[in-house]
Structures are given as structure tokens and as C-alpha cells.
């Protein structure tokens, strides 16, 4: 009876291990946040401050609107 219970307990533990969900975002140091820039100003677009996440975010939003929303460029539509 005891080995059977141990076996059942082991199976339960192994079964629950499969339910675990790993974090998908890499830990700091292995992934590189885009707002940290490339370390070179040569190809960096103007309008944001390297290292400032809020500034990068605002720049991307503005760039999306000005570059891809042509309704902003036309007087009427």
C-alpha cells in the first residue's frame, strides 16, 4: 500500500510540474531593452533620449503617427 501511495504522490508531483509556466521575457542582462539604444549615435533617430524609456516610447508613438497615419498630413479626408 505504501509504495503505491508513494508512486501516486510522485506521479502527482510530476504532473503538476508540467503546469508551471515560465516567464517569457528574458532576465535583465540577457535581453537588451530597445530604449537603451545601440551605443552609437550614427544611425540613431533624433527626438528621444537614449536610456529614457518614456522618451523612447513617446518617440515611437509619434513616429508611428507621423509616418503611417496619412490622415494627419491631409487637411480633410
Amino acid at each position: 500500500m505504501r509504495p503505491l501511495l508513494t508512486l501516486a504522490g510522485l506521479a502527482l508531483v510530476l504532473g503538476l510540474v508540467a503546469c508551471g509556466d515560465k516567464p517569457q521575457i528574458k532576465a535583465a542582462g540577457t535581453g537588451h531593452a530597445a530604449y537603451l539604444g545601440t551605443g552609437s549615435a550614427a544611425y540613431t533617430a533624433p527626438g528621444w533620449k537614449v536610456g529614457d524609456a518614456t522618451s523612447w516610447d513617446a518617440n515611437m508613438r509619434a513616429r508611428t503617427q507621423t509616418g503611417q497615419n496619412e490622415y494627419l498630413r491631409t487637411a480633410s479626408h
Binding site: I25, H32, A34, T38, G39, D57, T64, N69
Partner: protein, 208 residues
């Protein structure tokens, strides 16, 4: 933080393949590998539509779930990337991907199938941003340069929208409200999930 997403407006795509060319040129993608391609639906039939397809950087990426060596990861911006140093070129991701995004060069370390290559949303890879190693393996890291993906920025009709999900969805919604048709956004539900019932309604569309 922005959650990067793609939308392709089938009402606007003219099958010019400018996005494909922009991607190829920007990242020096080799022969036989197309990170992005234009697919025509009902070709030759009146009302045919074309859409530009690449990795959609899914919210719950199936490639990530099936990879036996766990080479995929998600950046803080919501971009799904992979580590070519870990990839064994098994091809499981290509079977799992609903968009056919994973590509395999015909000559590589593993017999006739090399390490997987796919759209990076112009966000490079795990190497240092803007480094030569990153450039060699994954191409340019435009996001770290404060730019958006080359395909979307190059699109002549602005059919392909790429950027923060909220912003591109807002731009697309404005278009649909203006033209009163073409609200079908191919792949959006598959990649980013369908609206949850009981969730607050989307903000009222307006000129933005």
C-alpha cells in the same frame, strides 16, 4: 511600454513587394529566406486581396511553446525573438506557426537545413544592440535606433502598419470608419487573441 504589433490592411496592399525588398535590403537576408512575403488571396478573381505576411510576434507564441531547446524569448516591447546560438534547426516552430514565419536557409550546419531565421520586428537578437555580431545574425536593430520596422516605414500605401499595438489599431480603426468597409484585419485574432467578452469597449474612434 509599447507592445509592438503588425496590421496589414488588405484594402490598401497593392502587392508591390516593397516591404519584402525593404526587409531583404535592411537585414541582408540571404537567398532562399524571406522574412516577409506578400500573399494574394483569390488571385485573378475579382475582389482579390493581397496581404503582407511575416512573424506577427504573437501574444502567446506557439513557436515558443514547441521549441525543444527553448531558444525563443520575448522582449519588454512584446517582440518575439530567438537565439540562433541555441537553435538546432529542428523545424518544429515552422509547423507550429500559423503564419509560416520561420525560415530555414538551405545550407547550414545541420545538413540541408540551417538555423531558423525570421522577422525580428527590426529588433535584432540577444547580442548587444547594434553590435556586429547581432547585425551578422539578425540584421539591423532599428528599434534601438528609435525607428520602426523597415517594411512598415517603407510601405508606399501604408497598408502595412507596424508599431505600438494601440497606435496602429487606432490608425486602422480611423481608416475603417472613414471608408466604411474593409474592417477585416487578417491574422490579428490569431496572433493577439480575440476580444474578451465582458471587457470594456474600445475607445470611440476619432481623428488622432
Amino acid at each position: 511600454m509599447a507592445r509592438m504589433k503588425f496590421i496589414c490592411d488588405a484594402e490598401r496592399c497593392i502587392e508591390c513587394n516593397g516591404c519584402v525588398t525593404a526587409c531583404k535590403a535592411e537585414h541582408k537576408v540571404p537567398w532562399g529566406v524571406n522574412r516577409r512575403r506578400v500573399v494574394t488571396l483569390n488571385d485573378g478573381v475579382p475582389g482579390e486581396r493581397s496581404i503582407s505576411v511575416a512573424c506577427m510576434h504573437c501574444s502567446d507564441a506557439p513557436c515558443m511553446a514547441v521549441c525543444p531547446v527553448d531558444c525563443f524569448y520575448r522582449t519588454a516591447e512584446g517582440v518575439v525573438l530567438h537565439d540562433k546560438d541555441t537553435c538546432i534547426g529542428c523545424g518544429y516552430c515552422s509547423y507550429a506557426c500559423p503564419f509560416g514565419a520561420p525560415q530555414f536557409p538551405s545550407t547550414g550546419t545541420f545538413g540541408m537545413r540551417g538555423k531558423m531565421d525570421k522577422c525580428t520586428f527590426c529588433a535584432g537578437g540577444p547580442e548587444a544592440s547594434g553590435s556586429a555580431a547581432e547585425n551578422d545574425k539578425y540584421g539591423r536593430n532599428r528599434l534601438a535606433e528609435g525607428k520602426l520596422p523597415a517594411c512598415a516605414e517603407m510601405c508606399s500605401t501604408k497598408a502595412l502598419l507596424g508599431g505600438d499595438g494601440d497606435v496602429v489599431a487606432d490608425i486602422f480603426r480611423n481608416r475603417v470608419m472613414t471608408r466604411n468597409k474593409g474592417s477585416e484585419v487578417w491574422g490579428w485574432g490569431t496572433a493577439y487573441g480575440k476580444p474578451i467578452s465582458g471587457a470594456p469597449a474600445a475607445p470611440k474612434a476619432g481623428k488622432s
